[in-house]
């Protein structure tokens, strides 16, 4: 089909992108525009629906059908669209506040119903658009606009919450790892059912470096573990560490100490 001939450029709109210079959203936008042509979809059959937040400006920059809706409701709007137009490829763009604070109920119910849509959850562990309050994913003790003495709430682990809501495809990737991000985007699109893609996204204005440990050369290898089907859970500077189950408790073992890779 001709759509195969599309290029990333075909997904760029005439609106100038209005994120802060250096925002992680730019990289995600670029990767999504890059992956789109590879999915073999006709542009007119793609719909991006977002809530409110910096991340939720996303649809304006994708030359497909799109809706920039209201805070927290993109998942519910997408449900109504997908329920009636199953042939469309529906993408939800949402932030950690949009999806898990005000939008928490619609998120878990969408996962439960398992409509065949893709959720891109831009997690910067902060409220960006409203200028830096802590979010449900901010770590305990987070000093933010609304918590000068540090937050007291325990954060959600988005993946655990979505598993508990019986999500059928749950993945985590990063704005700073284009290759892995593109890979996960394709996998999510391929999954029949709701795909939840949590994307670590750096907000360099209000929460700069929140994910540095995972994204920066120096520490990435030591702190990040890439899970691959049927491959052992190995990470570390020289892939010398692994994760093994000690009964039910996952423990970190040193492969050097004669623990085999099985």
């Amino acid at each position: 089909m001709e759509e195969i001939k599309l290029t990333a450029k075909d997904f760029v709109t005439d609106q100038d992108v209005r994120w802060c210079p250096g925002c992680g959203d730019y990289s995600i936008l670029k990767q999504v525009q890059t992956v789109m042509p590879e999915l073999g979809l006709a542009r007119e059959n793609i719909v991006f629906i977002s809530g409110i937040g910096c991340s939720s400006r996303f649809p304006y920059y994708m030359d497909t059908y799109g809706m920039h809706s209201i805070h927290g409701r993109a998942t519910a709007i997408a449900s109504g669209l997908k329920a009636t137009r199953p042939e469309l490829s529906v993408w939800i763009v949402t932030g950690d506040g949009d999806a898990m604070s005000i939008g928490g109920n619609h998120l878990i119910h969408l996962l439960r119903r398992n409509f065949n849509v893709n959720i891109l959850l831009f997690n910067n562990e902060i409220y960006g658009l409203t200028k830096g309050q802590y979010s449900p994913t901010s770590p305990v003790g987070k000093i933010a606009k609304s918590t000068p003495m540090g937050s007291v709430d325990y954060p959600f682990n988005p993946l655990a919450l979505c598993l508990g809501a019986s999500g059928t495809f749950i993945a985590r990737t990063m704005d700073r790892d284009p290759v892995h991000l593109r890979e996960i985007l394709k996998r999510g699109n391929a999954h029949k059912g709701t795909s939840l893609l949590e994307i670590y996204q750096n907000c360099n204005v209000f929460n700069d470096g929140a994910f540095e440990a995972f994204t920066e050369k120096a520490s990435k290898k030591a702190e990040t573990l890439f899970v691959v089907q049927d491959k052992p859970l190995v990470f570390g500077q020289n892939s010398e560490k692994g994760i093994r189950l000690d009964g039910l408790k996952p423990v970190i073992v040193n492969l050097a100490d004669g623990v085999s890779l099985d």
Partner: protein, 615 residues
């Protein structure tokens, strides 16, 4: 021994008993039989708020009032001619509304010490045995015993036998009004087809009740209520919520759209969902959402995709939809919001009726957010007005409120099924790609009525983005330009005002064009006002009546009509809401008449007020 037959124009019967006594079923059966016979009818079921309040208590009394006649009937009637009570509480709760000389049929078994106690009659007092009911014709019948004897040897347990008691009553009333048992017999056969023994038992009891009329010692008189002269056509008996469901389907079909109904259950709106969920074959999708916000936003998503998006609730649920309604009107997508009003505020009186959500429909959102508002005036009018709501939503690309209420939602009346041809056309304008090379699509380009096109996903070349932030006219791009904002606010208002060009002019329901007094009602008060005005006119006064069904915008000629009367009286089942809008918009010093009791106006209340206003 057979007894004389007296002819009556109309009769009001009230069946009352425990929620467990099958009162609603009994009433519905008689209603259907009367409808088939050709009587005009109006019914008023009155449920307790609890699913099954404790048996025998006043709180547990369930009632079904039905008014049928050979003349035009527009209300369930202020007082009843016949009161059927299955227990003492049912009598106590309703005897005040029985006409002097009226008939009481009482199930004596429901008047034992226990039941008298539960009904809070003083120790040792039994109304059936003292003279407290002297001004009525009382027929104490041990219906329980009679039913059991009639079913003796049927092999049923007493519990199951007793479930047929209502059939005995129904049979007796059929006898009293010379009605055939056929349709109820058919119903019983259908209902219990899997349990032949119950079919037999119920039919047997029904007949027993019927024949009891002849055999009863205390002679009962029989009455005849001739058929009403309806215009020809196939009639069915319909409740407001059913009519609403059918109206939505009819509108979607006429518009060539699929119907998406996103809702969250709530009394008294849920039955619309129950009805629609049976009609998937008509391209109907019902979606029971996790809450009211998801209900309306999923409907917005469906509308964005080219469906007729509809959401429904009652007051508390509607309050949760305000923000999303604002989104829909910013996007300029068709959306119908059904509000089956109930007593408020907050949880209020869930099973009672009220008209107190009009101002919420008009103003219950942030910013300048005008939407169209229509209301139904009777059970069957729910069909026509929800149809209109759909027409306006699709043709104007805007959210439209359809207001019903508990009274007409559960009330019933005979209704002549319209043919598709009789219904107004609904023109859906999906955008086609007619762009010239290099031309950019303008999603907010407008026609002469300021209405934009409906460009739905899947249409090649019309890819575009919509959103809730203020947008530049035509292009739809985000715009913070001050003048553009004012322009857009004015356009959105003008678009709603313009709907006045596509709706009928306001007609007077009765009375002269000019005069001393106009009674102006809206929505479900239609029947009561019509009847009251008719009575007042009969008694030689001059009054006119107009009933509003289009509330935003109003019909173009409303101001002129109001100007033709010295006084305008506005009865509402609220603390005065329409009157606020009328006074502001037309600067008419209208007089309000308000009832806030969770109950429709009685004809008596209205006639008194009208005459008082005329003085």
């Amino acid at each position: 021994m057979a007894s004389s037959t007296e002819i009556k124009n109309d009769v009001v019967i009230l069946f009352a008993g425990d929620s467990g006594d099958g009162i609603q079923l009994t009433g519905t059966q008689f209603t259907n039989t009367a409808a088939l016979y050709g009587n005009d009818i109006s019914t008023f079921p009155n449920f307790p708020a609890e699913i099954r309040a404790p048996q025998g208590t006043l709180a547990g009394v369930s009632g079904f009032q039905l008014h049928f006649g050979s003349v035009e009937i527009h209300t369930p009637g202020d007082a009843s001619d016949v009161l059927v009570v299955m227990n003492a509480a049912a009598l106590k709760a309703n005897v005040a509304q029985l006409k002097e000389g009226g008939i009481i049929i009482a199930n004596t078994e429901g008047f034992d010490a226990k039941n008298l106690g539960l009904a809070k009659y003083p120790e040792g007092v039994n109304p059936l045995e003292n003279d407290s009911l002297a001004k009525f014709k009382v027929y104490p019948i041990d219906i329980t015993k009679l039913t059991r004897t009639c079913l003796a040897g049927s092999g049923l347990g007493t519990k199951e036998m007793d479930r047929s008691r209502n059939m005995f009553v129904l049979g007796l009333i059929y006898w009293m009004y010379n009605r055939t048992l056929d349709s109820t017999v058919d119903y019983i056969r259908e209902q219990f087809k899997k349990r032949p023994e119950l079919v037999e038992a119920n039919i047997k009891t029904l007949k027993a009740g019927y024949h009891y009329g002849d055999t009863i010692e205390a002679p009962m008189s029989r009455y005849e209520v001739k058929a009403a002269v309806h215009e020809r056509g196939s009639y069915r008996n319909i409740m407001g919520n059913q009519a609403t469901a059918i109206g939505l389907i009819a509108a979607a079909q006429k518009a060539g759209l699929d119907l998406f109904y996103g809702t969250y259950p709530i009394t008294p709106a849920s039955d619309i969902l129950h009805e629609l969920s049976k009609h998937k074959n008509f391209g109907v999708k019902t979606f029971q959402a996790e809450d009211e916000i998801a209900a309306i936003t999923s409907a917005i998503g469906a509308s964005f995709g080219g469906n007729l998006g509809v959401t429904a609730s009652s007051g508390p649920g509607i309050a949760l939809k305000g923000e999303a309604i604002g989104l829909a009107l910013m996007l300029e997508l068709p959306l119908v919001i059904v509000n089956v009003q109930r007593g408020g505020p907050s949880t209020g009186l869930p099973t009672k009726t009220e008209q107190a959500d009009l101002l919420q429909a008009m103003y219950g959102r942030n910013g300048e957010a005008p939407v169209a508002v229509v209301a139904a005036s009777s059970p069957s009018d729910c069909f026509y007005m929800v149809y209109e709501a759909c027409r306006i939503a699709v043709e104007t690309m805007t959210p439209v409120f359809f207001l019903s209420d508990g009274y007409i939602a559960n009330g019933a009346e005979p209704w002549k099924f319209p043919t598709a041809a009789e219904l107004p056309a609904i023109t859906t304008r999906f955008a086609k790609n007619e762009l010239l090379a290099g031309e950019k699509y303008k999603p907010y380009k407008r026609d002469q009525n300021l209405v934009r096109e409906w460009a739905i996903p899947g249409t090649k070349g019309l890819e575009h983005r919509v959103g809730g932030i203020e947008k530049e006219n035509e292009t739809g791009n985000i715009s913070y330009d001050p003048d553009n904002h004012e322009l857009m606010v004015k356009i959105r208002q003008a678009k709603i005002d313009g709907i006045a060009n596509s709706i009928p002019l306001q007609k007077l329901d009765s009375g002269k064009e000019k005069g001393k007094l106009l009674v102006l009602g809206w929505g479900s008060t239609y029947g009561s006002i019509k009847t009251a005005v008719h009575d007042v006119v009969q008694s030689g006064h001059e009054v006119s009546h107009a009933q509003l069904r289009y509330l935003n915008p109003f019909p173009k000629n409303l101001g002129e009509i109001l100007g033709n009367f010295e006084k305008v009286l506005i009865p509402e089942m609220n603390n005065g809401q329409l009157i606020k809008i009328i006074r502001d918009k037309y600067f008419v010093d209208a007089i309000g008449f308000n009832k806030i009791k969770g109950m429709p106006f009685t004809t008596g209340e209205l006639t008194r007020k009208i005459i008082e206003t005329l003085q």
